[in-house]
Amino acid sequence: MSLQDLQRDMAGCSRCSQCKWVPMLQIKSWRFAKVCPSIDRYNLHAYSGSGKMIIGTSLLEGRSELNDNITEIIYKCQLCGACQVSCQAYRDDIDLADVLLELRAKCVEEGFVIPEHLEMIDSMKREDNPMGMLKRDRGDWAKGLDIPNINNQKVDVLFHAGCRYSYDEDLQDITRTAVMILKNAGIDVGIAGNDESCCGGRAYEIGYQGEMKNYAEDMASRVRASGAKILVTPCSDCYYTFKYLYPKNNLDLGVKVLHITEYVDSLIKEGVIRPEKDIPLKVTYHDPCHLGRRGEVYKEWEGEDKLLRPVRYKQSGKLGVYDPPRDIIKAISGIDFVEMERIREYSWCCGAGGGVLEAFPDFSAWTATERIEEAKATGAEAIVTACPWCERVFIDAIKKNGDSIKVYDVMELLNLSLGGR
């Protein structure tokens, strides 16, 4: 796909600005009515979903050119997909999220690159992760857990930790907790250890679409080699990559892909996992973009006029993973669960995605702070989520602002209720 292929989508934009707002029927207050961090922070229309589509049209028609300013606007966007949800509430013929991806690909093609992103790609090429960490250390998080390595044996379930959960020392406990929950539930789960590598999704998102293909092929062969029927990951970004980006690019892993919350939720409902301990805590849940609206499986539709595309093929975000994490939380006795206003398909982004954390950390932090404010407004003592990138930026924002609200992963909370520490 190229930007040119999306020319009709972009030309369909009526500049209604829905892309800036929570879907209108769900606006519950003045304070939490906005949904796009980019336009909310930077205010010029160009930063909105519509604004970027107009940039696309402007470029294609030769009315303006790519330059550093425009590149920065394109990249000051977490690709959270909220604009697409709000747009597609009314429109069937605009795939805004795809336009945003193709704009980045165009930037890279024409040499307008963000230095920090170049470093990420370089790191991926050298060490199979975008974080500048060493490949040989990737499997260290699992030391001492006695989890089968798929190089040594076949397993039913392949646990793909993802880069952030593998390397971030503040979050490795969550990784361990997640895999042990499965193991203790009797699941035949294995890991790839140091041989695990990046899913490639972030590379695609920052415009290096070709890079992802390498990692996808690598991923597919690893899955085949493991013998697994199920690929489970605790990382929402990886989940989105497997469910959306791979199929979009004709890459089929050939197995069922589940987020850890989906899997664990089913195990709870089957009675295999039983949360028992009371956890008296008031919590709210943050829907990670890549697990929720962006985690919706890719649906191929072949046709020219998207006005004729059936609704079931729209990537409206409706089929993302929203209830399993919530059901897990609600299965824990003692929890007082409250919702924020911007949830589910129209959740406010944590701020980390799309290469923003790496290239524009201030903007990332600003976005995270806004989300923490919303969590605090519910009176919750903790914000619970299911994505390492969200957890990272929330922890940093809370620390920077001196807030007392806690951050939990769903698995951490469940683990407490299972008697873990």
Partner: protein, 522 residues
């Protein structure tokens, strides 16, 4: 490009983050397909875009523009071509950063808002206090300040919440010379409670049936009337986005009805009796074909391709979407009884929508006024015409005329098939017996040339003139004042005099208001 010193002066007032002259950024303000009656979606690219946060910054911008003889044009949400420049050489003022609800006086039923508060935000906050606001047909993403001070103002709760142009109280207005004018009581240190006086009401300069659409300066604050939200939920919470919404929050004193009349005449009679009986919260012509188009566009295309189905659906053409929202059970009971009696006496059918599974979704969608805004869905674009604000019998005559004209243009492929029935509008202000019916045409700009649309506007304008159907939305197009003005006491000359008096340097882009008087007199 703006002169360097002008740019610098603006940057000094606003800060570098709040001004841009980057072409790709400016094109975000030049892409304006909605209600654009030009040949393409692009309008003139502004010289620069500026984002003020305060009234003082707005004044600063305007004074700099005057100093450097550069025009300016302000918008709130910027949806629709009239919000942007109508000519080259205009600085776009984007009021996005002026986004606060300054006050809601629940007892005295008004709110004071800045330009970038959207109607959904205002409604959400008003509902917490048992109140509601008028939302125009373009939807809850529009700016109440903008449509109250500067736009039109039809909304389907108009039976209960009036018309935008009748809803302002005090207004803060930065005139085209940069001076501030505070209309009404706020200008006399008496609060926001009234927009009229002392003496003559300068609201008459600010707007008439329509507003100046950016041609007379910038409105920075407006007190807007709020209306009761009878027994309604204060903070409704439910899952879903639009058509998938399910809620248990529908109050038992709220009811949605579809009313079917056998003819336009009976439809009108029904409307008159509803108004006279002082019942109802929402009254709006329902357009059967369009409703499908908005909620199930592919189904509409398939269905309406069948002549048999088209014939059957025509039987439901004279449909009223009607909602009751009562304060008490007794009030509801009375209103329902009256409604049924009126329906019966006008040979109509009243269908209680609560029998349908989509009832909850429909109720909330009606309250939040989302459905009219979905008129973009079937084709990506639409335009409107007829729709003058008149005694309702004449509005109905416009509907008939508009449908007849539109049928030809549907047959020519200019508009999507909608049974030639996308009339939208209702009665306003309770017992007033005035209202409107506009004829909407949906189309895909990417597939069709504009000439047919221009012909449609010409045809509807001609009908409005020939058959004395009032001055309506058909007059939206550029230069139509040349046709209508001489037929209507030269209103255009008087408006140009206002423009001349209040904007002697012609710095406020009057492209959608009126040209300078010397141009008119040429």
């Amino acid at each position: 490009m703006l002169a360097k010193d002008a740019y610098k002066e603006l940057e000094d007032v606003l800060g570098p983050e709040n001004i841009s002259e980057e072409p790709g950024v400016l094109d975000g303000y030049a892409w304006q397909p909605a209600l654009n009656l030009g040949r393409e979606a692009w309008i003139p690219r502004p010289e620069a875009v500026v984002l003020p946060e305060t009234t003082e910054e707005v004044q600063g911008i305007i004074k700099i523009c005057n100093k450097h003889k550069v025009k300016f044009k302000a918008f709130s949400t910027g949806w629709a071509a009239w919000g942007g420049p109508g000519e080259q050489g205009v600085v776009q003022i984007d009021l996005r950063r002026m986004n606060r609800i300054l006050e809601i006086d629940a007892k005295n039923m008004y709110a004071v808002v800045e330009p970038y508060v959207c109607a959904a935000q205002l409604q959400a906050e008003a509902m917490k206090k048992g109140l509601n606001c008028h939302i125009i047909g373009a939807g809850p993403n529009t700016s109440p300040l903008a449509n109250t001070t500067s736009g039109w103002g039809y909304g389907w709760t108009g039976l209960f919440t009036g018309f935008s142009g009748r809803n302002p109280l005090g207004v803060e207005w930065v005139l085209p010379d940069g001076e501030i004018l505070r209309l009404g009581s706020i200008g006399s240190d008496a609060g926001w409670i009234s927009g009229d006086g002392p003496g003559p009401s300068l609201r008459g300069i600010m707007r008439g049936w329509g507003g100046a659409q950016g041609g007379l300066g910038v409105f920075t604050k407006c007190a807007i009337k709020l209306y009761p939200w009878p027994a309604g939920p204060k903070e409704p919470r439910f899952k879903g986005i639009i058509t998938d919404i399910k809620t248990t929050d529908v109050p038992k004193t709220h009811k949605v009805y579809f009313l079917f009349s056998p003819s336009y005449e009976k439809y009108a009679d029904l409307a008159y009796e509803i108004g006279n009986s002082e019942i109802g919260y929402v009254h709006c012509k329902g357009a059967f074909g369009a409703m499908f188009g908005l909620l199930a566009p592919r189904a509409m295309r398939k269905m309406l391709a069948s002549p048999a189905i088209r014939t059957i659906t025509r039987a439901f053409q004279h449909m009223t979407l009607f909602m009751l929202a009562a304060h008490t059970d007794r009030e509801l009971k009375y209103q329902e009884k009256v409604l049924k009696k009126i329906a019966s006496e006008t040979n109509g059918i009243a269908l209680d929508a609560s029998v349908f599974p989509f009832h909850q979704m429909f109720w909330w969608g009606v309250v939040r006024s989302i459905f009219p805004a979905m008129v973009f869905r079937p084709g990506g674009d639409f335009l409107t015409s007829m729709g003058s604000n008149v005694a309702y019998d004449c509005a109905v005559n416009q509907a008939k005329e508009g449908e007849k004209i539109k049928r030809e243009f549907i047959d020519k492929g200019v508009f999507l098939e909608d049974l030639a029935d996308c009339t939208w509008g209702g009665i306003y202000e309770g017992t007033s017996n005035w209202g409107h019916l506009e004829e909407i045409g949906m189309f895909d700009r990417r597939k069709t040339e504009p000439d047919g649309r221009f012909e449609y506007m010409d045809a509807t304008n001609k009908a409005a003139i020939d058959k004395s159907l009032g001055y309506g939305l058909s007059s939206l197009g550029e230069g139509y004042y040349k046709i209508f003005g001489p037929l209507m006491h030269d209103y255009h000359i008087w408006q140009a005099k206002i423009k001349q008096a209040f904007d002697p340097n012609n710095t406020s882009d009057g492209s959608f208001y009126i040209p300078p008087i010397d141009e008119l007199e040429d």
